[in-house]
Each structure stands twice: as structure tokens, then as C-alpha cells.
């Protein structure tokens, strides 16, 4: 009888059920989309912040003091220690390898450029060997990495050189002092190379030559040598645990530290992966990133609360209206001998059913909406975790029942005579 009452109520009052159901669906849609966006925004903004540059740097453990002003290396670092290029792919083998968006090795070499025309024309410049967009593989996994990803603010007029060629880029300030143009062949410490483009970075590289790593190694005469590696990683804002020294941590605390993508723990893992290396966070990038991320995440957490409040209110308002319109029915049921409990349980059952249907529909619509927001704003997916579905359903049922409780109480305590006569 109970089930039939509920069923008939849904069958016969399609319009009213549709209205209340639409309100619940809309509320759950907004809530789902906002929760999905708020949980993912940190990751998305972190990716955008990678435009500011790498946040970690790996150097040889016993590196000599770097004597360098404005990108000009005043002491040839030939006697210094080097990292091995063969170890680079191991960066993609660390625990947080999915958080490593890109890396770029660097090898500065001092070279002389011939300047024809002027008397005894030779100029000492720094040549920086690196990857531009190199195909690297670790195990079965292949990926493309290099400065085009880690230093996305570099601009080239002309073409980017290929990593296996002996083409190179000339910094724009340096280019103004040289009588060469794009496409020219030049002699560089005995190597004949071609200028592929002019590089503009707004910093030290404007006075340098940037070339494929293999060319720099050939000029230096040290195949496989790398001076430092810049690593871009997606990290989590650091907290008290992040700043602890891993050697002082034990057991589960150490595991938690190791398995959180803090700049410190990723640096630690890089150091483990690359022999004889020292990895450190670039504080200007890493520290401020944490601050910016915390602010944006906090903002969206609070905005999500506002969205949840607005959708809860919309759901309860719709439910209140729906129940208020059914006073006549309540009067009839009570006149036929139904108790308060019986009437209330019918309403609550209907509300729960409506919340579940609206919740599932809203979850689906919210997932689509979140995906759409991700695609239009961040050019990448915002995925809704399936675990969110039960959470959203429970919230929807709770809000619907709480929202209709006052109206249901008002409806069941009506005198059937007045209710049937339509007087409140």
C-alpha cells in the first residue's frame, strides 16, 4: 500500500515531481561541478605556474663555485664535476614521475666566435648546450622534454634547432653585436655550425648562444657531460611536515613525507635517482608557488561553500513549495484515518526517491559541466572522481529531507477539515 501510494504519487503528479526534481538536479549539478573544479584547481594552476620556470635544479654533488655575472661564465668550469647524460631518463622513474612535467639539462661552455672584417676578430661567448624538444625514453615510456617546455617564455625568430643537428640559437643582444643573420654558417671554436634563429628570453641567455647538448659536449670534449638539470614538477604547497629533515623522520611519518609531492621530497627522490647529484628547490619559484596555490585553493574552497549553500537553499525552497501545494491530499489521508507518522513517512519516502533520482541526474550533468569548464579554461580534462557520487547523493538526500522537514511537519499537523476546505 505504502509503495503504491508513493508510486501513484509519482505517476499522477508528473508536473510537480518534475519541477521539484529539476530543482534538485540543478542544485546537485552546481554542487558536483564546483566540488570537482575546487579539488582540481590546485593541480591545474600548478601546471599554469610552470610557465614561471623550473622549480627544482639538480647539480653535481661536489660542484665548484660558479663564477658567473649576467650569464657570462668568468671562470671556465672545465675542472668541475659533471652529471651523466645517461642518467637523465631516470628522472621519469622516480615515485612522483607523473608530476614531472619536463626537464632540461644545461651545459655551459666558453667558445670563441670568429668575426670577419674586424681586425683579429674573435669574441668570447658562453654557449649553453641543452635539449630543445628531445625524444627521451625510460623503459617502454617515451616522452618529449627540453627548454621549450621548461622555459616556455623563450621566443625564437627563425626556427628552433633540431636536437640532433648542429644548428643553434643566438641571443638577441649578442646577435646585435655580430654581423650574422639567420641561416648563416659560422665557425665556433673549430666547429662549423648554422644559425637557426634569434632567441629572446629577457634574461642572461640574450647574451649567449644556445645549442643542442651534443654540440656543447663535442666542443668541451666530454661526451655525456651535463652541468645542471632544471626540473619542472607539479608540487603541493609545503607545510610543517615538508620542512622536516627526512633523516629525522621515522616509519609512517617518513612514508607520508616521501609520498607527498612536496618540492623537498621530489628533490630528495631526484637525488636518489641520479648518482652523485644534489637536488634543490629553486626557492623563488617553489616557495611563491606554494603561497599562490594556497590562496587560490582557499578561494575556491570558500566559493564552493557558497555554491553548496545556494544549491541547498534552492532544493529546500522547491521542496517546501511542492509540499505546500499538497495540503488537500494530506487532509484526505488524515480524514481516512492515516496517522501523522504514516503521512510523514510517505512524504519523506517521496523526497528521498526524488533526491536520489535528481542526485544521479545532477551528478551526470555536473560531471559534464566540470569537464566543459576544464576544457574551455584549462585545455585539459577536469575528471570527476566516481567516489564523489555516493557523497553527493548523501548530501542531496540530507538537504532534501532537511529542506522539506519544516513543510512536512506543517502539513501533517493540519486539521483535516481546514485542509480539505482549503483554508490554512
Amino acid at each position: 500500500m505504502f509503495a503504491r501510494l508513493v508510486y501513484e504519487s509519482f505517476r499522477r503528479q508528473k508536473r510537480r515531481k518534475l519541477l521539484a526534481g529539476a530543482a534538485i538536479t540543478l542544485g546537485v549539478t552546481v554542487a558536483t561541478a564546483m566540488i570537482a573544479v575546487a579539488t582540481d584547481i590546485g593541480d591545474k594552476i600548478s601546471r599554469e605556474l610552470r610557465t614561471i620556470g623550473a622549480n627544482l635544479v639538480v647539480t653535481p654533488q661536489d660542484e665548484a663555485l660558479d663564477v658567473n655575472i649576467g650569464g657570462v661564465h668568468l671562470q671556465p668550469p672545465s675542472d668541475s664535476a659533471y652529471l651523466s647524460e645517461a642518467d637523465l631518463p631516470k628522472i621519469k622513474g622516480i615515485f612522483w614521475h607523473n608530476n614531472i612535467t619536463a626537464f632540461a639539462p644545461m651545459l655551459p661552455v666558453n667558445v670563441t666566435v670568429d668575426i670577419p672584417g674586424s681586425s683579429g676578430g674573435k669574441k668570447e661567448v658562453t654557449l649553453l648546450g641543452t635539449y630543445f624538444a628531445k625524444q627521451v625514453s625510460y623503459g617502454k615510456q617515451g616522452f618529449v622534454t627540453g627548454v621549450r617546455k621548461t622555459h616556455s617564455w623563450w621566443r625564437v625568430s627563425g626556427a628552433w634547432p633540431a636536437d640532433h643537428s648542429s644548428d643553434l640559437l643566438i641571443g638577441e643582444r649578442l646577435a646585435r653585436t655580430l654581423p650574422y643573420k639567420v641561416g648563416d654558417e659560422i665557425a665556433l671554436s673549430g666547429h662549423s655550425v648554422k644559425i637557426a634563429g634569434i632567441l629572446s628570453t629577457g634574461s642572461a641567455e640574450d647574451d649567449q648562444i644556445v645549442a643542442p647538448l651534443a654540440l656543447a659536449q663535442a666542443i668541451l670534449g666530454k661526451p655525456g657531460a651535463v652541468r645542471r638539470i632544471y626540473v619542472s614538477a607539479i608540487t603541493k604547497p609545503e607545510d610543517a611536515l615538508a620542512r622536516r629533515d627526512p633523516r629525522s623522520l621515522t616509519g609512517p611519518m617518513y612514508d607520508r613525507w616521501y609520498c607527498s609531492p612536496y618540492p623537498q621530497s621530489i628533490a630528495y627522490q631526484l637525488q636518489e635517482a641520479i648518482p652523485h647529484s644534489h637536488a634543490e628547490q629553486i626557492r623563488q619559484v617553489a616557495q611563491n608557488e606554494g603561497a599562490v596555490l594556497t590562496k587560490i585553493e582557499g578561494l575556491f574552497f570558500l566559493v564552493t561553500l557558497a555554491a553548496l549553500l545556494a544549491s541547498a537553499l534552492a532544493v529546500s525552497a522547491a521542496m517546501a513549495t511542492a509540499i505546500f501545494e499538497r495540503r488537500g491530499e494530506v487532509g484526505l489521508m488524515k480524514a481516512l484515518g492515516a496517522g501523522k507518522m504514516a503521512v510523514a513517512s510517505i512524504f519523506f519516502a517521496e523526497a528521498t526517491l526524488l533526491a536520489l533520482i535528481g542526485g544521479v541526474a545532477g551528478f551526470a550533468a555536473g560531471s559534464v559541466l566540470a569537464r566543459q569548464i576544464g576544457r574551455t579554461i584549462f585545455d585539459s580534462q577536469i575528471s570527476v572522481q566516481p567516489v564523489l557520487l555516493p557523497v553527493v547523493l548523501v548530501i542531496a538526500v540530507l538537504v532534501t529531507i532537511l529542506g522539506s522537514a519544516t513543510s512536512i511537519r506543517g502539513a501533517v499537523s493540519l486539521d483535516p477539515v481546514y485542509a480539505l476546505r482549503g483554508e490554512l
Binding site: K44, S203, L309, A314, I377
Partner: protein, 384 residues
């Protein structure tokens, strides 16, 4: 059609056109007082909707300025450098600071390569520690130098120059300076290889003036571009360039955050509007008996629409006013909690919220009224 006497026709016509303001007002007030519960519920929905909309719009307008402040912690976004390694004019810093006029921080840097007594070359920088402290928040410094002839040593330079924190000598073009380490600096970048001393010590020792001024200018991208143009004019001998990764990264992150917040605000405002719409429509619909009674007593359709519209509009106006105040409070609270800075109330939001609220309430009143107008009062009064 029910018969209508010419007198009643005349009366209703005069009611529709002539102002019976006292009666009209009394009806408005009594309608709200008699059905306190329902009126309060509708007002509550209106207030919450207006408050949430106000808070979100206020945040949306202010969030960019707040986040720009966060980005200034990245340090300089403009570099003023001398051309070809010369020094900047002696009054360069003063000129830059008078141009900034409090809208930013500038720190001068002078660099040379000196030799330690072991023969190890090292880069020594002269700077103003007070300014660097404000400009480069990310420097991890154990102890800032306070006195003359004290040095701040980079982490890497320390192990090469003064591993036991002992005083050391540095020589530059035949002149020697004796320095005491005050503390170490760690940044993970070039600073770790350098030794920093105060600018007066540096100039007295080497006779060299700063060659670079790092400027963190605050403001919108247009304001920063203007600052750069003015700097170029004020210091024709220097090169003024933006720190491109900071400027571009900031623009990207701010743009994306603002777009996401816009989408969120649109969703929230839409939900709030629909909530008000459904509540008010229910309220007006419940009062179909009042409507039928007034119509039976001879009120014209126009008068009735006017009455319900006025009721809805006043609810919208009162609700949005209270909601605006609550929303300003909400935005201020979010500003305090999240940005540790208050969010200034924007009065330009008030008319927007108010007009939108009144529009929504009017819509919520007019839809049921236009439905009811087609129905005979007798049918409604019989309760069908």
C-alpha cells in the same frame, strides 16, 4: 461574463488610474504581516540569494588585485640594467623610487669578481639589505647583516670561502677588504654562489656603483607597461626590460583563475535566482484566493498585476538591500580568512544586485498572475 454595473466600471477605472496610495500601501503591508511565515520564507530566500551573489561579485572584482599582491612576492618584474657593463648614474635609484612613488620596491645591485686569500674567485655583490629583504621574500637567510663589514654568504660560497664562519679577506684590483660573516643565504639559484655586502662598503672598497636595479612594480599590466616607459625616459642610459617569465606566468594564472571564478559565480548567481523564482512563484500562487477575491470585488486586471508587481518589487528591493549588507560581510570574511586583507565593499555591485533581484521577483510574480488572470474568480474561490 458577470454583469458589471456602470458604477463599478467607473470605480474600477478610477482605481486603476487614480492613486489610492494609502489603501494600496495598507494592502501591501497587511499582506506581508498576515502571512508572516510565507513572507519571511520568501524574504529569507531573497536575502540569501542576494548575499551570495554580492559576495561572489565582490570577490570576482577584487580577486585579481589580491592575487597580483601574491605575485609580487615573486620579486622583480622589471630589470633596469646599464648598457655594456657600465655603472648606472649615481642618482638612478632615487629616480626610480621617485617614479614608483610607493607603488613598488626597488633594490640596487653592483657585482664584481674578487679573489679570496686562497686564490678562489668569487662573485661579490653590493646591495641594500633592507630593500632586498622586502623584494626577495624567498631568500632563506639565517641572519641579516646589520653592521658595516658584515657579509651575507651564499650556501655554496660559504664552504669555499668561510666554512667555519671565520672572518675572511677579499681582494679586488689590489685592494683588500676584511669581512665577518653575519649569516648565510640559500635560494637554489645564482645567489648561493655569491657574497653580499652593503652598498657603502662595496663602493668604498671597489669604487664601483650599482649596474642593476631590480624593480617589483605593482599594478595592472597596463600600469606596469607605463612604469617601464617612464623608467626608460628617466634613465636613457639604461636598458629597461621586463622579467618575462614572471609577467607571463602572472598573466596566465590570473586569467585562468578569473575565468574559473567567473564560471563559478555565474553558476551560483543562476542557482540563487532560480531559488528565489521558485519560492516566490509558490508564494504568489498560494495567494490565488486573495487575487480572486479582489477581482470579484471589482479590481481591474491592471490594478491586480500592479499590486502583485509592487509587492514583488518591494520584496526584491528590501531583500537585496539586506542581502547586500550580509554579502559584503561575507566577502570581507573570505578576504580576511584567505588573503589576510580586507576586500573593499564595491558600491557598484549594489545597483547590479538590486536591479537583478527586482527583475527576478517581478518575473516570479508575473508568471503566476498571467496564468491566474485567465481563470474565473469563482473557480478559484471554490478551490478548484
Amino acid at each position: 461574463m458577470r454583469p458589471v454595473s456602470p458604477f463599478a466600471q467607473k470605480l474600477s477605472a478610477s482605481r486603476a488610474t487614480g492613486p489610492h496610495s494609502s489603501m494600496f500601501l495598507r494592502m501591501l503591508v497587511r499582506a506581508a504581516v498576515l502571512r508572516r511565515g510565507r513572507a519571511a520564507a520568501a524574504l529569507f530566500a531573497m536575502v540569501v540569494a542576494a548575499a551570495v551573489a554580492t559576495a561572489v561579485l565582490n570577490l570576482y572584482a577584487d580577486v585579481q588585485a589580491k592575487l597580483r599582491g601574491e605575485f609580487r612576492n615573486y620579486g622583480a618584474n622589471i630589470i633596469v640594467a646599464s648598457k655594456d657593463g657600465a655603472s648606472l648614474p649615481a642618482d638612478a635609484l632615487a629616480r626610480v623610487e621617485s617614479l614608483l612613488n610607493g607603488r613598488g620596491i626597488a633594490a640596487p645591485f653592483a657585482l664584481v669578481v674578487a679573489r679570496a686569500s686562497s686564490g678562489q674567485p668569487v662573485v661579490v655583490a653590493g646591495t641594500d639589505f633592507e630593500r632586498v629583504r622586502q623584494l626577495d621574500h624567498w631568500w632563506s637567510v639565517t641572519n641579516w647583516p646589520a653592521a658595516s663589514h658584515q657579509a651575507l654568504i651564499g650556501m655554496r660560497a660559504r664552504s669555499a670561502i668561510s666554512p667555519q664562519q671565520q672572518p675572511f679577506d677579499l681582494t679586488f684590483s689590489g685592494r683588500t677588504i676584511n669581512l665577518t660573516p653575519a649569516g648565510t643565504v640559500q635560494t637554489g639559484a645564482a645567489e648561493d654562489n655569491r657574497i653580499y655586502i652593503s652598498l657603502p662598503d662595496f663602493t668604498a672598497w671597489t669604487g664601483i656603483l650599482p649596474s642593476t636595479i631590480e624593480v617589483a612594480a605593482s599594478g595592472t599590466p597596463e600600469e606596469i607597461a607605463t612604469t617601464m616607459r617612464e623608467l626608460t625616459q628617466a634613465l636613457p642610459s639604461a636598458e629597461v626590460r621586463p622579467v618575462r617569465q614572471i609577467v607571463e606566468g602572472e598573466a596566465r594564472v590570473l586569467g585562468k583563475t578569473r575565468a574559473t571564478l567567473f564560471a563559478a559565480s555565474a553558476l551560483i548567481v543562476l542557482t540563487a535566482a532560480l531559488c528565489v523564482l521558485s519560492t516566490l512563484m509558490g508564494w504568489v500562487f498560494d495567494r490565488r484566493k486573495d487575487f480572486a477575491m479582489m477581482k470579484a470585488l471589482g479590481a481591474s486586471g491592471r490594478l491586480l498585476s500592479g499590486f502583485f508587481a509592487a509587492e514583488a518589487a518591494s520584496l526584491g528591493a528590501v531583500g537585496s538591500l539586506i542581502g547586500y549588507v550580509v554579502g559584503i560581510g561575507l566577502a570581507a570574511w573570505i578576504g580576511r580568512v584567505n588573503f589576510h586583507a580586507s576586500i573593499a565593499p564595491r558600491f557598484s555591485v549594489l545597483p547590479v544586485v538590486m536591479v537583478a533581484s527586482i527583475a527576478v521577483t517581478l518575473l516570479a510574480a508575473i508568471i503566476p498572475i498571467s496564468l491566474l488572470r485567465r481563470v474565473q474568480p469563482a473557480v478559484i474561490l471554490r478551490g478548484e
